[in-house]
Amino acid sequence: MNNFLKTEKIYSILELNTAIRTLIKKEFPEYIWVCGEIQDLRISKDKRHIYFNLVQKHPEADEIISKVNAAIFENYRSDIFNRLKEIGASFELKDDIEVKLLCALDLYPKTGNFSLIVIDIDPIYTLGKVAQSRQRIIGDLKKEGLLDKNKLTVIPAVPLKIGLITAAGSAAYHDFTNELIMSGYGFIISVFNCHMQGKFAEKDLSQALDFFNNFPDSTLDVIVITRGGGSTADLSYFDNKRIARAIALSKFPVISAIGHQINITISDMVAHTFYKTPTKAAQTLVERVKLFLEKLEELGGRIREASIEFISEEKRKLVDITVKMGMVSSEYFRFHRDSLLERKYRIFNILDVFLAQEKEISKGNSAKLKNASCRIFKQQLERIKHFEGKVDILNPDNILKRGYSITLKDLKALKSADNLDEGDAIETILYNGKLLSQVTGKEMRSSAKKEKTGGL
């Protein structure tokens, strides 16, 4: 075992760490460039130093394969930040960004941890990496069809119910809400208070978007994400894939107004609409409501005009009809008066003719009646005369007048001498007077015995 020993010296921990530190210093006497992704970035309690891990990830899997502690001490911090500001970097030092750092290597004998002491940054490299990562996110979103997804949602004509995602109390918050309040329209604003930058931004924004997306459909019109104009570097928080996904998948239209001047963040790209400032976003909403009201007013005016036009047109028609009616009715009455007169004359004519006819007929009738009655009387008289004639013939006086007489025996007229005997008393009636006789003889006609009659 001793064969393996380089030296008999027994190291204390401090001696060991110090020895290793010397080795490191010997190996890396100068500064070196190191590339890696920032993770777990934190600020010391006294806010003077920045600590983070610099990690190397597996090129395909999201898996850390190597890691080192890093620190930016107070004395370099402002230099580094100034350099970033100078070139107008659209990022700031934060988790998940890949950086190229100029570092010294050191080991703290007290802890045995070796660290990268950052003294400078290569902003161009980092910018490139940030741009690359940005492009990757955009590519992924495109692949998933999320870039235009929120644009398919529709901002209602009257967007009054607003889900506001911002830092409550910030200048952006006031700008936005004041603009809405000043409009005098009935906006209803629900606010979700968020960190709009820093390491809580991603989580807060995702939660906020989830929160509003749990609202029932009709209770929200639009989500507005807004913040004031910070440094351009702050905008890099909005090149976040998780936030972008949440915006894209929101069922409500998302308006982003995150206060930048030149670049468009990925959040802007996936949002329904984006504006530069909170004021502008608010004005647009107000304008939309105003436009709707104006359109309503205009439609109302058109309805009013149309109805007035309609009514006057109908009135005109009515007048026309009335005039026509008057004409037609006077025509009608004239016609009917004429025809009435004509009818009257015709009736009178008919009546005259009828009366004349009736006169004739009645004349004829009376003549007939006269004739008929004459005939009846004549007939009756004839009949009576006939009866008279008969009576005349039958009247015994008329027979007696001609010399005939009637002989009675015992008041019975004698028609034969048969039953007479001589000496019988008989009575003879003459036209004028009677004879009383006694039969003295009788004689029968032809075969009968002859009877002699002796007068008294």
Binding site: S366, I384, V391, L394, P396
Partner: protein, 71 residues
């Protein structure tokens, strides 16, 4: 024979009956003269009726012919 005056058709039928009776030859002489008397009376009655009625009818017709519209 009732006191009531006979109407014309009754008179005529009475007359007819009397004539039939006279023509039957089975009749008493006294009865004959009564019957004849009666017949003559009836004839006169009928004649009167006829004449009176004829006069009335003629008068009515004459009036009617004067004013046919009044029918």
């Amino acid at each position: 024979m009732s006191k009531k005056e006979l109407n014309y058709s009754e008179a005529i039928s009475e007359l007819q009956k009397i004539l039939e009776g006279l023509e039957s030859e089975q009749i008493d002489v006294d009865e004959v003269s009564l019957k004849v008397k009666k017949a003559i009376e009836l004839i006169r009655l009928c004649r009167e009726k006829i004449e009176k009625t004829e006069l009335e009818v003629k008068k009515i017709i004459k009036e009617f012919e004067k004013n046919p519209e009044n029918r």
